[in-house]
């Protein structure tokens, strides 16, 4: 277990250099080494989306990615969404629409929604539901999450 690899990643804009064992996932490293606990642990098999982060512009289940595979990548977690202490429009919309009940799935939902809007600034309801199908919400906030994404897209148009 002694063997580790050095990786360099940029996390929420900050360059980080880390020594990681080869079997540790990106989720392990974010949570345990970088103390960024926004990405959550649930299924650990890529089915629930609670651990979703953005790696080089694409959403990944960070429980399925080995940390060494992320070497050289740019990573955004939920902690990187708010800028200078003010919420980004998607976070605001989640709040306003009441999308977060217990909140445990929400970081993953936000990251998935973020990537969705980046690729498709004006998604339909069906596109949102399909795009977020990998993010489970047992509180069942799905309609509010969809509304929040729609509201953010609409606001983007206005600005």
């Amino acid at each position: 277990m002694a063997e580790t690899h050095r990786i360099e990643v940029t996390v929420n804009g900050l360059p980080r250099m880390l020594e990681v064992p080869p079997h540790h996932t990106l989720l392990d490293v974010l949570r345990d080494d970088l103390r960024l606990t926004g990405a959550k642990e649930c299924c650990l098999v890529g089915e629930c989306g609670a651990c979703t982060v953005i790696v080089d512009g694409r959403t990944v289940d960070s429980c399925l990615v080995l940390a060494v595979e992320a070497d050289g990548c740019e990573i955004t977690t939920v902690e990187g969404l708010a800028q200078d202490g003010s919420l980004d429009p998607l976070q605001r919309a989640f709040l306003d629409e009441g999308a977060a009940q217990c909140g445990f799935c929400i970081p993953g939902q936000l990251m998935a929604a973020h990537a969705l809007l980046a690729g498709n600034p004006h998604p339909t309801v069906a596109e949102i539901q399909e795009g977020l199908a990998g993010n489970l919400c047992r509180c069942g906030s799905y309609l509010q999450i969809t509304d929040a994404v729609l509201a953010t897209a609409a606001e983007g148009t206005r600005r």
């Binding site: 299924c43 306003d96 009940q101 217990c102």
Partner: protein
């Protein structure tokens, strides 16, 4: 006069943490010097433990502890909310797949994983029971040691308890038509997205425990008893759970982790995997036989209901679930003759526990479905038969209990309207309507403290757990309303037994009513102090001073709270403090030890389409209407109702445990056990409330977080039945099951 905040939907209190990732759930907490723990389990359900050899595990670098029953005080402490039948770790025998035989603790997760795999357990598999039929076989092995139930005539069987209830005389009753069928409800799991997590740390001469628990004060008592400590030396921290749904009500592995922490002399942390949560909590499966007697004019003559619930290897709260859940099984109808016999049947499976609806969805599925069969038999419309028999406000529909506390026909009529009941349907579609009723809390004790600080801001101390239902927001709204503070000047402190006063529990949709009233009482006590202050300051008779919504009314003018508070407190400043106490004592003469504080009433109406080729069910429209008394926060009410509705679609359409022959859950985990995603939603989901301000809670509210789940299965089942013209009496209505029913109809 400040505007009312009751009945509005401000942003969730605690919402910022939830959207920024800064909200700290138990697994996010980091204690210095913490050891990581893992459970050691066997690859079968029931086994005799012959020996456990920890030497290889202990030889690994970084491994600090391997603890088994042999390392614990003897006899090994047992606990449980109903019966103290559950040992903190398996003693001599495992009783279900996942029952831990050892716990390891190490410096790192990697070391803990490796150590858990190296604990050598020699065991002999024993005969076991996983189904009702097997458990009820007179030759079945006993799940529970009869010595745990001395003097109980059922102790030599796997029936833990029987719950008979009824009125009238079913045997003597004569009905024009009798319809009898048997229905089954599957074993399902809570699948909170946050797996259960626990940390325990020695704390001076006491202990601190962090848990994803819904009932911190109950946990405090369990830990104190297991460790032999006074309550004051046990501090339970309960950060907001990431979803509970009942699965986090009662202690599971906290006593074990606490004992490990004491033995190690260091903090110990155990975060369950999702698979382990499947092996920790589930809903009881159920088989219900219903005989419904009805006259040709639609009048219900009798309901004769026998419900066998398959509970797990330890009682947990499961038997209470059975008794309380089955109690209103005859539904919100005036039925002159009712006989209900519910039984909790032990088995070598995961201990079942509370789960949204608390034993009621199982019987609701059966009884409401059978009512449809009765309507069909006499040629009456399914809505009409319900409205024909429904209890009206004040009717003692359960003769010895709280009378109907709402005009429920309003709810039903509204749901029928919203689904377009009676309008023509395209081919391949069907509609269903079902009514759900659940007894609210039968006992309760909620203390609270409210502090009005010198600047007019407010701190509320309330021991409720906010697991997503939004209790924090509702209490803040009450305090803001009563004391005139802006909402963002109110802080709600929960989840720390050392500083928050006692609350019995967060369950049965009680908190808005019981803790809400307690907070209201604390605020009213502060208002009384403000009245005295204003009278003194302005030299008027106290009787002439009024306080309402943060405004102090003097005979000649109105003042804000702060205008009275600041001069009233004087140069030293300080604060005003109010306490609330809401107590609902047990009533030993009542079959449930107490009449419910309110009923949750819901009507769900469904339009569904069935794909004849695949058996796939599409919910075209899902209408859920709940009688909530008054929605203090309409958005939170809506999201609770919709969340409950969607959760109900889970057990209705897709969720169920599948066991293999040795009692292992075959679909353990998220790959093989599916819950509703954003792709499984009704095409149209409509939720509405009926509000007559007739509840016992603040401002006329009632509890409401479970109602919209109760009758989902029956409403969907009825819609599918109409679409395919053949009944299916087993859940879930998977495509395969529906397709088979279609094939059988074709060949018949």
């Amino acid at each position: 006069m400040s505007a009312t905040i009751i009945g509005t939907s401000p942003n969730r209190v605690g919402g910022i943490g939830r959207v920024t990732g800064s909200q700290q759930y138990v697994a996010d907490l980091r204690l210095a010097d913490v050891l990581e723990a893992r459970l050691v389990t066997l690859d079968c359900a029931r086994a005799r433990i012959i020996s456990i050899d920890a030497s290889a595990a202990l030889a690994l670098p970084g491994v600090r502890l391997v603890m088994t029953a042999a390392d614990l005080p003897q006899p090994v402490p047992r606990f449980g909310p109903q019966l103290e039948d559950r040992p903190v770790i398996a003693v001599g025998e495992t009783k279900y797949h996942g029952d831990p035989v050892a716990i390891v603790a190490a410096e790192t997760k990697d070391a803990a994983d490796a150590a858990a795999a190296l604990v050598r357990v020699e065991y002999e598999e024993l005969p076991a029971v996983f189904t009702l039929a097997a458990a009820l076989d007179p030759a079945a092995p006993l799940v529970q040691d009869p010595a745990l139930r001395p003097g109980d005539r059922l102790a030599s069987t796997n029936v833990l308890r029987e719950h008979p209830i009824g009125w009238g005389d079913v045997d003597a009753a004569v009905a024009d038509v009798v319809v009898e069928h048997t229905y089954t409800f599957p074993m399902v799991t809570h699948f909170a997205i946050e797996p259960h997590a626990y940390i325990a740390a020695p704390d001076g001469d006491g202990i601190a425990v962090w848990s994803t628990i819904q009932h911190p004060n109950w946990l405090q008592k369990v830990i104190a008893k297991v460790l032999g400590m006074p309550l004051a030396k046990v501090r339970v921290f309960a950060p907001d759970p990431g979803g509970g749904f009942g699965g986090k009500q009662h202690a599971k592995y906290e006593p074990l982790v606490a004992l490990a922490a004491i033995r190690a002399g260091r903090p110990v942390r155990l975060v369950l995997s999702l698979e382990e949560t499947f092996q920790a909590v589930r809903r009881a499966s159920c088989e219900v036989r219903v005989r419904t007697g009805v006259n040709r004019d639609g009048a219900l003559v009798f309901e004769d209901i026998a419900a066998d619930y398959l509970i797990g290897a330890y009682a947990d709260i499961a038997d209470r679930v059975v008794g309380k859940g089955s109690y209103p099984a005859a539904g919100p109808y005036t039925v002159p003759n009712v006989r209900i016999l519910a039984r909790s049947v032990l088995s070598h499976t995961v201990p079942s526990t509370a789960f949204r609806g608390f034993g009621n969805p199982q019987v609701n599925w059966a009884v409401e479905s059978n009512l449809d069969e009765a309507a069909l038999a006499i040629g009456m419309d399914r809505l009409e038969i319900r409205l024909r028999n429904i209890a009206h406000r004040g009717d003692a529909f359960i003769p010895f209990d709280t009378p109907a506390d709402g005009e429920w026909s309003q709810t039903v009529t509204r749901a029928a309207e919203l689904i377009g009941w009676g309008s023509p349907l395209p081919p391949g579609r069907g509609r269903g309507i079902a009514l759900g009723i659940k007894s609210g809390p039968t006992t309760g004790l909620s203390y609270s403290t409210v502090r009005l600080l010198g600047d007019g801001s407010v701190i509320v101390f309330a021991g409720t757990s906010d697991m997503g239902q939004g209790a924090r927001t509702v209490f803040a709204q009450i305090a803001a309303q009563e004391l005139g503070a802006p909402l963002d000047w109110v802080t709600v402190v929960m989840g720390d037994t050392a500083i928050v006063p006692y609350d019995q529990q967060t369950s049965a949709s009680r908190s808005t009513v019981l803790m809400g009233n307690s907070v209201l009482m604390a605020c009213r006590s502060i208002q009384a102090q403000l009245r005295t202050m204003a009278a003194r300051l302005h030299a008027v008779d106290e009787a002439l001073v009024g306080v309402d919504r943060g405004v102090v009314h003097l005979p000649d003018r109105d003042l804000s709270v702060i205008d009275v508070l600041k001069p009233g407190l004087g140069r030293l400043g300080g604060e005003l403090t109010g306490n609330g106490e809401v107590r609902k004592d047990a009533d030993p003469s009542h079959p449930l030890s107490g009449a419910p504080a309110f009923f949750e009433f819901n009507c769900t109406a469904i339009e569904a389409e069935v794909d004849r080729e695949t058996g796939d069910v599409t919910i075209v429209r899902h209408v859920t209407v709940s009688d909530v008394g008054r929605a203090l926060n309409p958005l939170q009410v809506r999201t609770q109702d919709e969340g409950a509705a969607i959760q109900g679609l889970g057990h209705t359409l897709m969720e169920h445990y599948i066991f293999d022959e040795v009692g292992r859950i075959r679909n353990l985990g998220a790959i093989d056990y599916r819950i509703p995603t954003s792709m499984d939603l009704p095409l149209d989901l409509v939720s509405e409330t009926i509000e007559n301000a007739d509840g016992p809670g603040p401002y006329g509210s009632k509890g409401m977080s479970e109602g919209a789940l109760l009758c989902v299965a029956a409403a969907v089942g009825a819609a599918v039945r109409e679409a395919i013209r053949v009944p299916i009496r087993d859940l879930p209505l998977t495509p395969e099951r529906v397709w088979r029913a279609l094939q059988e109809r074709e060949t018949a």
